[in-house]
Amino acid sequence: MAVQDSSPTTWGPREDMRLLNADVPRVDGPLKVSGRARYTHDIRLPGMLWGKILCCPYPVAKPTLDFDRAQAVPGVRVVLPIEDGLRDGWTRRLGTPIAAVAADTPEAADDALAALNARYEEGDWAVNYDQAVAPDAPKVHEEGNIRHLQVDGDEAAAQGELDGCDAVVEAIYTLPVQFHACLETHGVVVDYRGEDEATIYASTQGTFTIAADAAQILGLPQNKVTVLVEHMGGGFGAKFGLDVPGRIACLLAKEARAPVHLMLSRADEFHTAGNRSGSTQYMKAGANADGKLKGLVARIWKFGGVNRGANPGQPYIYDVPTSYAEAMSILTHTDGSRAMRAPGHPQASFAIESVVDELAASLGLDPLEFRKKNLASPVYHRQLDRAAKEIGWAAHPNKLGPPAELPDRAVGIGFGVATWGAGGRPTCEVDVRIDQDGSVTSSVGTQDLGTGTRTYVASIVAEELGLPVSAVEPRIGDSRLGASVASGGSVTTPSLAPAVKDAAHKAREALFAELAELLGSNPRNLRAKDGVVFDVEESDKRMNWKEACACLAPAGIEARGTFQRGLAGNGVHGAQAAKVEVDTVTGELRVLKMVCVQDIGLPLNRLATRSQMNGGVIQALSYGLFEERVIDPWLGLGLNNGFEEYRIAGTKDIPEIVSIIDDEDRRDQVLGVGEPVVIPGQSAIANALFNACGVRIRDLPLTRDKIINGLTAL
């Protein structure tokens, strides 16, 4: 039957919830831990070819390739030059794809790449700041390498304010380019056989961001291209659209008239799939002896390769009465930055949290109290206090810094705060279907980045219908299903969950309308709970779920839900604390414990929320301790293009993590917290390092060479 009923205006009382605001194991957990979950990498189709790409290892070079020799390799079907990244035959950035092959086996594809026998004439390049701003620097952009100047505030006024401050800290903070390091590399499998339709299996953050471009390349109408995203292995902001491997796979499939599997190699993933922009930030900040920040002058250089890079500006979260910030992008001949989990925010956090910490230290003030004095929102105050309590701040003996005589193993604590928007938007269309046999399906085309989207697509409906999660079949990751947003900016949940709620609500109302007639009840008096539908006023009027659904017409019930603005929130805070131990004899830094306190409105799934918080803490820790793109500026070669040299945190590097959902946030709205939880971790660790041993490191990562050098210089 068609459903016309009203939309919900509330998620309902938290105390009545069984599945929402509760720990619900993710529905695809068993598939993932047992290896049965099928990722794009795992797709195997009859007659499928293996696509591979050759990327130029130099920033600016003119390649010469032997296509005939590659074409002659046994098993090779297609060899294509890729020229859209070239200008007059020259590459413009490190890692530019220059050729692609499709072959019967991955080994034959590799052999064909080798047979291309690439030779490179090397040009002039700029891959770092010094090279990019040199007077005779080769130009990345025809208008020059220093671009996109933005100015905010009055520099003279800010400088004047600084002149009157009791303490001023002037320093430069640097963050390297970091990679998304998705465990599943970028790529697609294009199932096209020269006929009038195609299916694309994609590792993507946007089921609906692929088909238009793919259709255009394949010469098909868009409605003949289906995109499937059953499971995907990490995105973090780098996987939107058809992208480089998708475009090339479509070209190869079209030429071969056969399906093509094309996932980037790990090495190529590092230089042609995006990155988090690097940043250098000059900060001159002043405060008075009472601990109030007075003025700030900031200059921000963003390193986004051929792109702009990201930084939300300074003083970021802190209240500074008079501030001036200017920002500009320094272009280099390297892969362009992309959105990465809270674009620009971790960079801004590190500079401001460090300078705030340095000011507190120079004024001899408690760094926790100093922060609270300069943060207006009471939410930050309660969250910082909670983080401080969990990390053991009250009992910490060295709040103002390390003792004059350093112990062999020094312990320190540091803090940082976060902010994010995370609002919802109207796009999603969710269909909930109840069949005559009682089966329930919740369908929407959304992708699940591994955050638990699939689980709440089922659990919101199960909550509404009084059923266990297992009684609702979630169908996602298919462009033939209802529209959904791409997963960027933590918007998926606030955009999608209200639409799921709306569909579930409408389906329940439709069901109650049918049953009310049958039972002779007022539909307002019906409830669905524990697998039973009953009348709250007349207890003999009750049916179990299967009996109730058996009364439906053969078509069952189908309800479509859309975005409900009142159910989605916007704006979160967040506070983190880190406790570290420094071996002052060897320079070894170990993080002992991290605390993450996060407001989220109504937590749809507390277990998944804490899991996402843990993940944010780990990614920030890894950024703070290890991660850094290394390019030799003279040879122009990327030097850490694998997980041995590009270090991400492993099990032995990860401390005790305490993730606390801030339940004092009573908003009856859902929000996303993928981004805020990754923002302040590295800042808190750097501050904890200083608190432990007095070594202030202003350039991430906090590697042991810098720590032992700092200790030696004390």
Binding site: T586, D632, R647, G650, D705, I708
Partner: protein, 330 residues
């Protein structure tokens, strides 16, 4: 990857017969043990052998047994994880167990072998990058010297500045171990300290004296080392999985509070396991106290010549020496 012939010998003689006749360096044939380094090198086309000789099909070259002289002979194909988990060795030769346990990850240690660990190739950025024609690969320049050299050598460098990547090797040098090398003419015994070469004294594209027609078959620890105190300490950038920024293999024969004999070998700081003979002599007759720690650290790094970005290895290594002495004092 280039196609190659995989030889699966049943005996060591068959394995030797599959190697080149001449001992001269060659790219054509490679010996496969655990494969944890070789396969990576082949995938990156750093080596492109025509033939790979798989020692895993040869029985009898793993495990360990006492020698007639009271020492301990360990087969080269013994897996690192088996050394790490050997309770007897934990008691008798803790430095070897600690060194084995410090290698890479449990997954790699469960494949990697003792002999393979000793013969692995360097990890230098420029050696591992397939596009940089560095000295180690037969090129003309050591790019680390004027390039990115944070991880490179502070001792014994030039003309190549790689550091030897093995954790086990410094421990074996400090145990005065002897390696057994088998070739067409039979076995020869080489002290651990003489097995490894410096780029200035040996072939710059190699790190040891093993000839192309030889295989390391065993490592023998001399008698009496059970009575020594010994430890292997390692600082790495990432605790979960990393090669050494600096490592110390220290073995002391104590007489009451006094050091009677000492062996000190450094890892991660030189193109070979770096034996500190003068420091060993300095330690003899001393108590382990603050001054001994300071003097030993100063002496061991006296000859250090850091490059632009690796000066930190000096205080870090001195700190490790201090930690090792303190550990053995308690």
């Amino acid at each position: 990857m280039k196609s190659f012939e995989l030889v699966m010998p049943k005996t060591l003689d068959e394995a030797i017969a599959a190697l080149p006749e001449s001992g001269q360096p060659t790219e054509r044939v490679r010996v496969l043990a655990g494969g944890q380094d070789l396969l990576g090198e082949m995938k990156e086309s750093l080596v492109t052998p025509e033939r790979v000789v798989n020692l895993k099909t040869v029985p009898g070259i793993e495990g360990h047994e006492p020698t007639a002289e009271g020492g301990l002979r360990i087969g080269a194909l013994t897996r690192l994880i088996d050394l790490e988990r050997d309770e007897g060795l934990q008691g008798s030769h803790p430095m070897l167990v600690e060194a084995a346990a410090a290698v890479a990850t449990p997954q790699i240690r469960s494949m990697g072998t003792l002999g393979g660990n000793l013969c692995q190739r360097p990890r230098c950025f420029y050696y591992r990058n397939p596009h940089s024609p560095c000295l180690k690969k037969g090129g003309t320049e050591c790019f680390s010297y004027g390039g990115l050299n944070k991880y490179n050598a502070i001792l014994g460098g030039g003309p190549s500045y790689i550091v030897h990547p093995s954790d086990v090797a410094p421990a074996l040098v400090s145990y005065d171990a002897v390696f057994t090398l088998l070739g067409p003419a039979g076995e020869r015994e080489v002290p651990a300290d003489s097995f490894f070469t410096l780029p200035s004294s040996g072939e710059v594209t190699r790190e040891n004296v093993l000839a192309a027609n030889e295989i390391v078959t065993a490592v023998t620890l001399p008698a009496g080392r059970e009575a020594w105190k010994a430890t292997y300490l390692k600082v790495r950038e990432r605790d979960s999985f990393d090669f050494a920024l600096s490592a110390v293999a220290l073995a002391l024969k104590m007489n009451g509070d006094l050091i009677e004999q000492a062996r000190l070998t450094l890892g991660g700081v030189a193109p070979k396991p770096w034996r500190c003979t003068s420091t060993e002599e300095l330690l003899v007759g001393r108590k382990i106290d603050e001054e001994t720690c300071r003097l030993a650290g100063e002496d061991a790094l006296r000859m250090a010549e850091p490059l632009e970005q690796n000066g930190y290895k000096v205080p870090m290594t001195q700190g490790l020496i201090r930690r090792a002495l303190q550990a053995l004092a308690s």
